[in-house]
Symmetry: C2
Subunit: 141 residues, 2 copies
Amino acid sequence: MEVTVADNQLIDFQKKLEIFFLGKEEHHEFCPVRDIMDRFSDKWSFLAILNLGYSGTTRFNVLKGKIEGISQRMLTVTLRSLERDGLITRKIYAEVPPRVEYELTLLGKGLLRQILELAGWASDSMEEIVKARMDYDSKLQ
Amino acid sequence: MEVTVADNQLIDFQKKLEIFFLGKEEHHEFCPVRDIMDRFSDKWSFLAILNLGYSGTTRFNVLKGKIEGISQRMLTVTLRSLERDGLITRKIYAEVPPRVEYELTLLGKGLLRQILELAGWASDSMEEIVKARMDYDSKLQ
DNA sequence: CCGTATCCAACAGGATACTG
DNA sequence: CAGTATCCTGTTGGATACGG
């Protein structure tokens, strides 16, 4: 028997799950987690945060260059939404041509931390997931 | 000066960020993280995983009852997609009426772990985010 | 340079009805 | 019970053009 670590982890899971699901009962009409998780249900937010974390203070067009495939419109929309949630700051310099710099707040860095964990897991699990997909698809002939 | 913990955390961040962004260069045409993160860009996947984590082996309609607001169609679609990625298993019992049970795989439990972290952060940060939103909205008069 | 405005296509996902 | 099939709507987000 050497499942102790895994067992401990499962117990830890169960505790957190219970905290989460029991807490849900109290403020049952408004689920904070669901609301916040919707932040991820868009295509670009987490990529913007990752890049801001990596590059630090960054200008609009630089960021646009780093996030492959994003349109100007969607970068604006995404950044506004992150700013509204207090995850990033937006500083405008009164120059010509104008310069605007974005930066993660402390709150944003907290989220960055979570995203990095998730990204790490994704990276580690990628191979297994791709294999599972191929297995699944092949069984449908 | 007592920023040591925060500093260490930032260094840790930077390391993980570098691993992530440098790794990206190598297999630059296919970003695993972006692919996996798309798993979250739907409305229901993470809720299904949370509930399966909480309830363990669960039948289709029980799960449907627990995930508030999900339609029969979307639960089917979501579960199929999770099954395809090897995150859950689907067991069919040849009974009348039929019984189908879903359960997290080991891989799925790994993802559950990440989701719980994220959900915990969301729960902890909710208040601050709501406040930031109100501030932002009020400043637009 | 950093946006906004407008238009439009694609797709996620809800409602409903039907089956093994 | 646990789906599938069909239809239909709202939203996301891309392309383009223009403005401060």
